[in-house]
C-alpha cells in the first residue's frame, strides 16, 4: 500500500527539520515518514511547502539521516484513534502506548517504533442503540460498550458530513474494536461503522448543539480554590508560578481529588519523574467517588522534557482531542496540561527553525491565537441528545524568571476564567498551596456565598495592610485592635488557605466540610475580642490556630471532629 503513496527525497537536515524534494502532491500538516539507511521509519509532520520542496518536522532524533533518504507521505493529517480502551492508558505525545513500547524496546525509547494506541484483540460487550432506518448525524450514538464505570458511546464518526441512515446493525455481543457494528448510508454511499474512529488532533470536535455558560462549580477539595478562586465545570484556569512554587503538587492534588468523571493528565515537556508518580500510584489509589481505582478514570499523555520536542507540540492537541471524545459521551472531563509554557517553547523552536520573524522573546507572532485556540476547546456543551458534557482545562504556566509579564502568561490570562497565581514568597515560607490570596482572581461562582467570601477577603486585606504598616512603625506602634486584625488575617491563612496535600484528611476537604468550616472561620473573624495586650492576643491566636489545625486533621463528622470543634467553640467564647 505504501508504494501507491507519494514519496520524496531528503535534501537537507537542520535540527529536527528535514527538507524534502517531491514530485507529486503533498498536503499541509500531513504525516510523513523519513526512511533511514537502517530502515527506521521516522514520523514527521509537513509544516511548510516552498516550490517543489517541503519542510517536515520530525518527531524523533534526526541523527543519521542522509541527503537522498526516501520520504513517504501518508496523505493523512496527524490524528488520534478514538475508541473504547483509552482510559487507564499511558501514551506519548503521538498516542503510542508507553508500556507497550517498553515491552518491545526495553529501558530506552527506540525511534521509529510505533504501536497501535488501542488493543486490537480485546473484546467489548457491545449493545446496539440505533435501529435500522434511524437517521443519525456525526456524534450520535450507534451503540455502547461498558468501559469501567462509564457507558462508552460508540458514535457515528465525527468526520461524516450530513445525515446517515442506518442500514444494518450487529446484535448485542462481544466484539473487538475493528468489528463492523453497523452500516449507514448517505445517498448512494454506504459505509461501515466500527468501534474505533480517527480524528485530526489540531481540529476541534464540534458535534454538539450549543455551548453553554459554565456555572456549576467543579469541586477540587482544595479549600483556597473552591472557596476563594473557584473553577466551573467547562471553565478554564491557569496556575502560573516560578519553579518550586508547587505547580506540580497542586496539579497532582487536582488530578486525584477533583470531582469529575474523566481526568486527562498531559505531561508536556516536564519531568518524567512527575508522571511516574501518577503512573505507579493511580492503579492503587482508590477513587472515593466510585470505589474503583483512580487510574480507571485517567488517561496520561506524557511527552516529557527529554522526549522529542516536535512531539511535545503535538501532545497538547492529542490530549485535548481525547478530552473532546469523552465529552461527546456526556461526561465531565478535566484536562491538566503541565506545562503550556513548554508547549509554547516547542512552538518557538519550530518557528526558529523555519526562520520566521520572531515576536516577543522570540516566540512566534501567532502564539496568542494558538493559546486562545487551545483554551477555547474547553467548555460546557449540550449534546444532540440533550445530555451535557464538559471539558475543564487547567494549564500550568512556567514563566521565565517567575515574571508574569512574559508572553505565554499574558496570552493565557486573556482567555482563562480563573487565575491562580503561585507565589515564590509563599512557597519559601512553606505556605502551601502557594496560591496568592490577594493576586489571584476568578470569574466563576464559589460554593460559599459571595458576601461571606468578601468578608474573609476584606479581613485578609486588612491584615495585610496592618502587616505592611508594622514593617514601618513596628509592633509597638500598632494599636491592639489593628494587631488583632493582622492576627485574624494570618489565622485565615494558616487554618483555611493553607492545606496539607499529603494528608488524606486535610488534603481532601469536601464541599460540605468547606461550607461548615468556613462558617466557623467567620465566627472567629466576626468575634470582637478584647485582649489586654498584643502578647495576649498573639498567644490566644496561636492556641486557636493549633486547635483549628488539629480539627482539620479529624475525619469529617467523626467523634474526634466534634470534640475538637467543642474545644474551638469554648476557646472563642472565652477568648479575651
Amino acid at each position: 500500500m505504501s508504494d501507491m503513496l507519494p514519496t520524496g527525497k531528503v535534501t537537507g537536515v537542520n535540527g529536527n527539520m528535514v527538507s524534502v524534494a517531491f514530485d507529486d502532491r503533498v498536503i499541509q500538516n500531513e504525516v510523513a515518514f523519513v526512511v533511514t539507511d537502517d530502515n527506521e521509519r521516522l514520523k514527521g509532520e509537513l509544516i511548510r511547502v516552498r516550490g517543489r520542496e517541503a519542510d517536515i518536522q520530525v518527531f524523533e532524533s534526526t541523527v543519521g539521516i542522509k541527503v537522498g533518504n526516501k520520504v513517504e507521505f501518508s496523505g493523512e493529517l496527524l490524528s488520534v484513534e478514538l475508541g473504547p480502551g483509552l482510559l487507564t492508558q499511558v501514551y506519548d505525545g503521538l498516542q503510542n502506548p508507553l508500556p507497550e513500547l517498553a515491552k518491545q524496546a526495553g529501558y530506552f525509547l527506540k525511534r521509529g517504533l510505533y504501536v497501535y494506541p488501542l488493543d486490537r484483540e480485546k473484546t467489548w460487550d457491545y449493545s446496539p442503540a440505533a435501529k435500522v432506518g434511524d437517521k443519525l448525524m456525526a456524534g450520535d450514538m450507534v451503540g455502547s460498550v461498558p468501559e469501567g464505570i462509564f457507558t462508552h458511546r460508540i458514535m457515528l464518526p465525527f468526520a461524516w458530513l450530513g445525515e446517515w441512515e442506518i442500514t444494518w446493525t450487529a446484535g448485542a455481543g462481544a466484539y473487538n474494536i475493528d468489528t463492523v457494528v453497523a452500516k449507514a448510508k448517505n445517498g448512494d454511499e454506504e459505509r461501515d461503522i466500527t468501534m474505533v474512529q480517527t480524528w485530526p488532533v489540531k481540529i476541534p470536535i464540534t458535534c454538539y448543539d450549543e455551548k453553554l455558560m459554565p456555572r456549576e462549580p467543579l469541586i477540587t477539595q482544595v479549600r483556597i480554590i473552591d472557596s476563594f478562586f473557584p473553577v466551573a465545570k467547562g471553565g478554564t484556569f491557569c496556575t502560573p508560578g516560578p519553579f518550586g512554587a508547587g505547580k506540580t503538587v497542586l496539579q497532582h492534588a487536582l488530578s486525584q481529588r477533583s470531582e469529575v468523571d474523566v481526568v486527562i493528565v498531559a505531561a508536556c515537556g516536564e519531568r518524567a519523574g512527575e508522571v511516574v508518580e501518577i503512573l505507579r500510584e493511580f492503579p492503587h489509589l482508590e477513587d472515593p467517588r466510585t470505589g474503583r481505582h483512580l487510574i480507571d478514570r485517567t488517561i496520561i499523555v506524557c511527552n516529557t522534557s527529554s522526549m522529542p520536542v516536535a512531539a511535545r507540540e503535538a501532545s497538547i492537541y492529542t490530549s485535548v482531542t481525547l478530552a473532546e471524545y469523552y465529552r461527546q459521551m456526556g461526561l465531565s472531563v478535566l484536562l491538566l496540561a503541565d506545562s503550556t509554557s513548554r508547549w509554547a517553547q516547542a512552538l518557538r523552536e519550530v518557528s526558529g527553525r523555519l526562520e520566521e520573524i520572531p515576536g516577543e522573546e522570540a516566540f512566534p507572532a501567532y502564539l496568542e491565537s494558538l493559546v486562545a485556540g487551545f483554551y477555547e476547546r474547553a467548555g460546557l456543551v449540550r449534546l444532540r441528545d440533550d445530555s451535557q458534557g464538559s471539558i475543564t482545562i487547567c494549564g500550568a504556566v512556567s514563566p521565565a524568571g517567575g515574571n508574569f509579564e512574559e508572553p505565554v502568561t499574558q496570552a493565557t490570562l486573556k482567555v482563562v476564567g480563573s487565575f491562580l497565581a503561585l507565589s515564590r514568597d509563599r512557597a519559601n515560607a512553606r505556605r502551601y498551596p502557594a496560591i496568592h490570596p490577594l493576586d489571584s482572581w476568578s470569574k466563576y461562582n464559589s460554593l460559599i456565598p459571595k458576601a461571606k467570601i468578601n468578608e474573609a477577603r476584606d479581613m485578609l486585606r486588612a491584615g495585610d495592610e496592618v502587616n505592611q504598616m508594622m514593617k514601618v512603625v513596628g509592633e509597638e506602634g500598632t494599636p491592639t485592635g489593628d494587631f488583632v486584625q493582622y492576627l485574624k488575617g494570618e489565622f485565615i491563612d494558616a487554618v483555611y488557605l493553607q492545606q496539607n496535600t499529603f494528608d488524606k484528611i486535610d488534603g481532601a476537604c469536601g464541599s460540605e466540610r468547606q461550607q461548615y468550616v468556613f462558617d466557623k472561620l467567620l465566627d472567629v473573624i466576626r468575634h470582637k475580642f478584647s485582649f489586654a495586650d498584643r502578647d495576649a492576643a498573639r498567644s490566644f491566636f496561636q492556641r486557636l490556630r493549633q486547635e483549628f489545625i488539629d480539627w482539620n486533621y479529624c475525619p469529617w463528622g467523626s467523634d474526634t471532629f466534634k470534640a475538637a470543634e467543642e474545644k474551638i467553640n469554648s476557646l472563642i467564647k472565652n477568648g479575651q
Binding site: 541523527v63 518550586g244 516529557t304 509592633e475
Partner: protein
C-alpha cells in the same frame, strides 16, 4: 575506505562547510590541518553541503585541509576500563593511560521510557543536616547547586561525593579552572575514591565545542554502569553555566535567532535532555545528578538557573558558604522523609517556618523597633538554628540531627508556639529534666 574531501567552501566561526555526498546527520569527521588533527561533527545538511563543527576550532584550517568522515557519531567505551580514568572533552585520555577502543557506544542516546521509571525511594545520606533533614537527597534525583563565583561549590560537591552512599562517581567538568581539576583529582585520590571514579574534564582553556560533549559522555558512561551493571551512580557536573554559554556561543555562530539574553530557544530542551538522564530502575541501578550552576550576577531569573530550576527536582542555594534554607528545596524529599521518622516532616516544615519568622524579627530589630517577647524567642532560636543546623562542616546522622532540632525548639519555645501537631509534640518534645541534664 571512506572518501577524503579537500575542498572547504566556507569557514565561519568554528563551523566549516564542505561539499560531500552520503554523509549522515551528526556523523563525526576528522579535519587535518597544519595544526594537527581535530574531530568535527556534522550539524547541518543542505543538499550536498555539509556543515561541520570543528572541535578544536577553525583557526589554522586551510581551504584545502583534509576532511575524512568516520561514519559514526561520537562514541565512548562502555567498559570497566573506564574506571579510574580521566578523559578530555573530545573523548581522548587526559591521563597517561591508553585510548579505549572496545565496546563503543553512541553518546546522547534516546530518553528513558517513562513507563520504565520507578518512584524514587532511597534516600542518599550525606551527613549534612541542611540536606538530610531539610532537603533530603534521593537516589535518581537531579539537583543543581545554585551559587555564584567565589562560593565553595566545588568543595561542597567534592564533600557530598565523598560522604554520599553510592557505588560510582562520574565527574564531568566544563570550563573548569585547571586548579579546580587538580583539586578534584587530589581530593578523590586522598579519600581513595579515584578507582571508583571516571572523569571527563574540559578545562577553561580547551576548545569550546568539547565543553558540549562532556555531559553527554559522562551520562552515557553512567547509563552503561546503571543499566548493564546495576550500579548506583552519582554524576557530578560543574559548571553547567559554562555548558550553556558554550551552547549560546555556537548557536549564535550558526545564526540561530536568540530567545533570551542571547541563549538559543532550545536551551530548556538541551538542558532537559541531559538532566533527565537521572533515573532509577526496578531491575537495574540508578543515576543521580548533582550539578553546579553559577548564577551570573547572583540572579536566579537569569535564563540558565531559571531553565535549570524548572527541569531539576529542587535546588540547593549556596550562599555565604551555607545552604540557604529558603529557596533550597528537594522535591523528592516527600518520597522518603515519611519513612525516616514520624517527626521528620513536621519538624522540617515548622523549623523553617519559624526561621522565616526569625528573619522578620531580625529585620525589625535592625530597623530599631522594640522587640516583643516573641521576637526575643525567635532571635534566640534563629541563632541556635544557624549554629547547629546550617554549618556545612557538621557531619551527623539524620536521627541525631532531628533530636537536635527538638532540643533547639524546646530551648526557645512552648510547644503550642511551634505549630506542630499535638501528638508529635507529646512523643518527641524533650522532657525538661533531660534537656537540663544535657546542658
Amino acid at each position: 575506505m571512506r572518501k577524503i574531501y579537500h575542498r572547504i567552501i566556507q569557514i565561519s566561526g568554528n563551523v566549516i562547510t564542505v561539499e560531500a555526498d552520503n554523509v549522515a546527520n551528526s556523523e563525526l569527521a576528522e579535519v587535518k590541518s597544519d595544526r594537527g588533527t581535530s574531530l568535527a561533527q556534522v550539524i547541518r545538511l543542505d543538499k550536498n553541503r555539509v556543515y561541520l563543527q570543528v572541535f578544536a576550532g577553525s583557526r589554522g584550517i586551510a581551504t584545502d585541509s583534509e576532511v575524512r568522515f568516520l561514519g559514526h557519531p561520537m562514541r565512548i567505551a562502555a567498559d570497566d576500563a573506564l574506571l579510574g580514568r580521566i578523559f578530555s572533552g573530545n573523548g581522548q585520555p587526559r591521563d597517561k593511560g591508553p585510548a579505549l577502543h572496545d565496546n563503543l557506544i553512541d553518546i546522547g542516546g534516546p530518553s528513558v521510557n517513562p513507563a520504565n521509571r520507578i518512584i524514587p525511594r532511597n534516600m542518599i545520606r550525606t551527613g549534612l543536616p541542611m540536606i538530610d533533614v531539610f532537603n533530603t537527597l534521593v537516589e535518581s534525583q537531579k539537583l543543581p547547586i545554585f551559587s555564584v563565583a567565589g562560593e565553595p561549590y566545588n568543595e561542597l560537591l567534592a564533600r557530598i561525593a565523598m560522604q554520599a552512599e553510592v557505588d560510582l562517581i562520574i565527574l564531568g567538568g566544563m570550563g573548569l579552572k585547571y586548579d579546580d581539576y587538580l583539586y578534584f583529582k587530589e581530593t578523590l585520590d586522598e579519600h581513595g575514591a579515584l578507582s571508583r571514579t571516571v572523569m571527563f574534564i574540559h578545562t577553561a582553556s580547551d576548545p569550546i565545542v568539547e565543553c558540549l560533549l562532556v555531559p553527554d559522555m559522562a551520562l552515557a558512561a553512567a547509563e552503561h554502569f546503571a543499566t548493564n551493571e546495576g550500579k548506583r551512580v552519582l554524576v557530578l557536573l560543574t559548571d553547567m553555566t559554562n555548558f550553556c554559554d558554550a551552547l549560546k556561543e555556537i548557536a549564535i555562530t550558526m545564526e540561530q535567532i536568540p530567545s533570551n539574553r542571547g541563549y538559543p530557544g532550545d536551551l530548556y530542551s538541551q538542558l532537559a535532555a541531559r538532566y533527565e538522564k537521572a533515573v532509577d530502575f526496578e531491575t537495574a541501578g540508578s543515576i543521580t545528578i548533582l550539578a553546579v550552576t553559577t548564577m551570573p550576577g547572583d540572579d536566579v531569573t537569569h535564563p540558565v538557573p531559571d531553565n535549570t530550576g524548572y527541569i531539576t527536582e529542587g535546588q540547593f542555594y549556596l550562599v555565604n558558604g551555607r545552604i540557604e534554607p529558603f529557596g533550597s528545596l528537594s522535591r523528592l524529599k516527600q518520597q522518603v522523609n515519611s519513612e525516616t521518622r514520624a517527626d521528620h516532616r513536621a519538624l522540617m516544615d515548622n523549623m523553617i517556618r519559624l526561621y522565616a519568622e526569625y528573619k522578620e524579627s531580625l529585620e525589625k530589630q535592625s530597623m530599631g523597633f522594640r522587640m516583643s517577647n516573641w521576637d526575643d524567642k525567635l532571635l534566640k532560636y534563629g541563632a541556635l538554628f544557624e549554629q547547629r543546623m546550617m554549618d556545612l562542616s557538621v557531619n551527623i546522622p539524620l536521627e541525631e540531627a532531628l533530636d537536635l532540632g527538638w532540643k533547639t525548639l524546646a530551648e526557645c519555645f512552648q510547644p503550642t508556639e511551634t505549630g506542630i501537631k499535638s501528638d508529635l509534640v507529646k512523643q518527641f518534645w524533650p522532657k525538661t529534666d533531660d534537656s537540663d541534664k544535657k546542658d
